[in-house]
């Protein structure tokens, strides 16, 4: 029986002991390291999302956690037990595939009850349980005998989820399960998934290449790049304190300006002028730095208005982002992004020359 817990146990106490622990995990495919040097503690009951661009090694990592591949180096432990070589059918984990991997020759009910059939549960009990799970994932009862390939994308998603739940795993893995769905359905399912996570109290490890998806659902986010885990933290930490340009740019559209130090001053490399920088997060002393400014922190300066740093350029494009409008402003060779709420939008045909600026505290200074 799938137990329904109250909201996940308090996170403000001492961090719960890790359910999964990865130490120095590496996976090599014929000389090419798809995953490298991964150290990660997965906390019991958390919703951890791994994001990264396509090809960064997310699936490879997940397959090792699920037992479908073995690490070339390093250790994976589950509640302290080394499970590097434990086959997937012996692990208390379950993976929801990117392709969903539903059994096309089986009905919705048969798909969901597959794990129960493996265990030798009788048909009547299987059906009862399948119907329970279908209710949990919000599938109508009459879908029990429906051919799974006749279901819509969202319905299949739910079947895959229910099928994984039927196995009653301690940890559930998701490999970009929503990537093929349209935006609205994706949003709805993200919410449902989050709800299910809370209701079941299971540990979820979710993979996506969309940070937006990660931000909505996760307790913690790990960012992967070229096989390495670059940063692990809460959504706030990832958004507010990216460790490098890659993370910051991955988190959303940003303005990045390269700077060079000359004595006590910072000179722009892409744009002319001298700039005031906030100190780098780790306090390192740098000769070269990147300043990252999110478009929403970039202000349009009225005549006489001031900011720590200023640039003058021409507006050459604007995009509606719904309630906000994004402007592309050409400063020399560089294109900067700035946003305004629709209410304060620039008048059409207003002078193309604008001055934009930001305060040092609103930007990150990164070494790489």
């Amino acid at each position: 029986m799938l137990q329904t817990l109250p909201a996940a146990a308090a996170t403000d106490e001492a961090p719960p002991r890790p359910i999964l622990q990865l130490v120095g995990v590496r996976k090599v495919f014929g000389g090419f390291a798809a995953v490298e040097g991964i150290d990660l503690d997965v906390r019991e009951g958390e919703f951890l999302t791994i994001v990264g661009p396509s090809g960064s090694g997310k699936t490879t990592l997940l397959r090792m956690l699920a037992g479908m591949d073995q690490p070339s180096e390093g250790n994976i432990t589950l509640r302290g037990e080394l499970i590097n070589d434990m086959p997937p059918n012996k692990r208390p984990t379950c993976l929801v595939f990117q392709s969903l991997a539903l059994f096309p020759h089986k009905s919705v009910g048969e798909n969901i009850a597959f794990a129960l059939k493996v265990k030798g549960v009788d048909a009547a009990t299987r059906k009862k349980r399948a119907l329970e799970l279908m209710r949990i994932v919000r599938l109508p009862d009459n879908y029990h005998d429906k051919n799974v390939m006749k279901c819509s994308g969202g319905e299949r998603q739910r079947v895959a989820l229910a099928r994984a739940f039927a196995y009653d795993p301690e940890v559930l893995f998701f490999d970009e399960p929503l990537s093929a769905l349209d935006y609205k359905l994706k949003k709805a399912l993200e919410k449902e998934l989050k709800d299910l996570h809370r209701e079941t109290g299971k540990t979820f490890i979710y993979i996506t290449h969309s940070l937006e998806e990660a931000m909505v659902m996760s307790d913690r986010i790990g960012v992967m790049r070229a096989g390495k885990l670059v940063q692990v933290g809460t959504p706030e930490e990832i958004y507010g304190a990216p460790v490098d340009r890659f993370v910051s740019e991955f988190v959303g559209e940003v303005n990045t300006l390269k700077m060079k130090r000359a004595g006590a001053e910072w000179h722009g490399v892409d744009v002319p002028g001298t700039f005031t920088l906030s100190p780098p997060k780790d306090g390192a002393s740098l000769d070269e730095a990147f300043v990252v400014i999110r478009p929403e922190y970039m202000r349009f300066l009225a005549p006489g208005e001031r900011a720590d740093n200023q640039l003058t350029g021409t507006v050459y494009n604007e995009y509606s982002l719904g309630s906000r409008i994004q402007y592309q402003i050409r400063v020399g060779e560089k294109v900067m992004l700035a946003e305004l709420s629709r209410a304060r939008a620039l008048a059409p045909g207003a002078s193309a020359e604008v001055t934009i600026g930001w305060d040092a505290a609103d930007a990150f200074t990164l070494g790489s």
Binding site: A66, N89, L95, A101, F103, P104, F114, K117, V118, R163
Partner: protein, 305 residues
């Protein structure tokens, strides 16, 4: 196409004679397809029609299209006619061949898909290669292998054994020859069928706790079934029509049905009887194929419906 054009024209009741003429004319596509259609009709249909026509001709005559009789068919179904024996041998041997090949080809097909890795191409070529050598030549090769003082017998004697088994010119070796000849026809559809089983599904089943046998029974086998059944059907149809194995390897220890047809066309010079036999066998195979294909609902098996 012309039919469609005509049907539409009649429904819309063309206003003018010109329109009507236009509607009657063959579309460009139909006209372009005409030579191919004619060729197909001559190359494929004509022989069939000839066989059919001959089967109704006076026995032992060449009065095709000039005589009509059911005598040939009557004599085939005459209870004293032993031709059913040949038919039984052919069908029986074909069934055995299919059964043997299903068991032999499955592991190879599995290996080609999941085990041999980059050697798979090479292994496939090994199985395809013999197809470039005439079947008879290959079978004579086996005769040389099995014959007294041949490769097997000679080698065993040379090694100090009493000699090889006396298998040549027996029904058993005929079956061996058929299994050998038709292996590729079972193997490749089967390999294709197994290749159609997505790797993810097997991984998913395993992830859900299933063991190898359970996965094989519940996932691999049902999903590979279209390929397997097509392989079986193909092998069966080919094996029912096989003669060379029974003749060359089997030394005619059994007479198969297509050999009987051949005898009727050659030695007996009874083309009408041979044609009638060919018609009966073709109808049997066609009926079987149609039944099998209708049972073999590809869409359902692949879950497209």
């Amino acid at each position: 196409m012309a039919d469609i054009a005509l049907a539409r024209a009649s429904k819309m009741a063309p206003e003018t004679a010109r329109e009507l003429r236009h509607a009657r004319r063959l579309s460009v596509g139909a006209r372009c397809a005409l030579p191919v259609a004619v060729l197909l009709a001559i190359g494929f249909l004509a022989p069939m029609v000839a066989i059919l026509a001959y089967s109704f001709a006076t026995p032992r005559s060449f009065d095709v299209f000039r005589s009509f009789t059911l005598e040939n068919f009557a004599s085939l179904f005459d209870p004293t006619n032993t031709v059913w024996l040949s038919f039984a041998w052919s069908v029986g041997f074909a069934l055995f061949t299919v059964a043997i090949l299903a068991v032999i080809a499955y592991p190879i097909a599995y290996g080609l898909n999941a085990v041999f890795g980059r050697w798979a191409g090479f292994v496939s070529v090994l199985f395809v290669f013999p197809l470039f050598v005439s079947e008879n030549v290959r079978l004579y090769g086996w005769v040389l292998f099995f014959i007294k003082n041949g490769v097997l017998d000679g080698t065993l004697k040379w090694l100090g054994f009493s000699g090889g088994p006396e298998v040549l010119y027996t029904p058993g070796v005929t079956l061996f020859g058929m299994a050998y000849t038709y292996l590729p026809f079972m193997l490749f559809p089967m390999t294709l069928g197994l290749a159609l089983v997505p790797r993810d599904l097997v991984d998913a089943a395993r992830d859900l706790g299933a063991g190898r046998l359970f996965i094989w029974r519940e996932i691999e086998l049902p999903l590979a079934m279209p390929g397997i059944l097509i392989g079986m059907l193909l092998t069966f149809v080919l094996a029912v029509g096989a003669t060379a194995e029974a003749k060359i390897l089997g030394g005619q220890s059994i007479i198969v049905i297509s050999h009987d047809i051949e005898i009727a066309f050659t030695y007996s010079q009874n083309w009408p009887l041979g044609s009638a036999l060919a018609v009966v066998v073709s109808v049997f195979i066609a009926a079987l194929t149609l039944v099998a294909l209708s049972k073999l609902d590809l869409d359902r098996m692949l879950g497209r419906r």
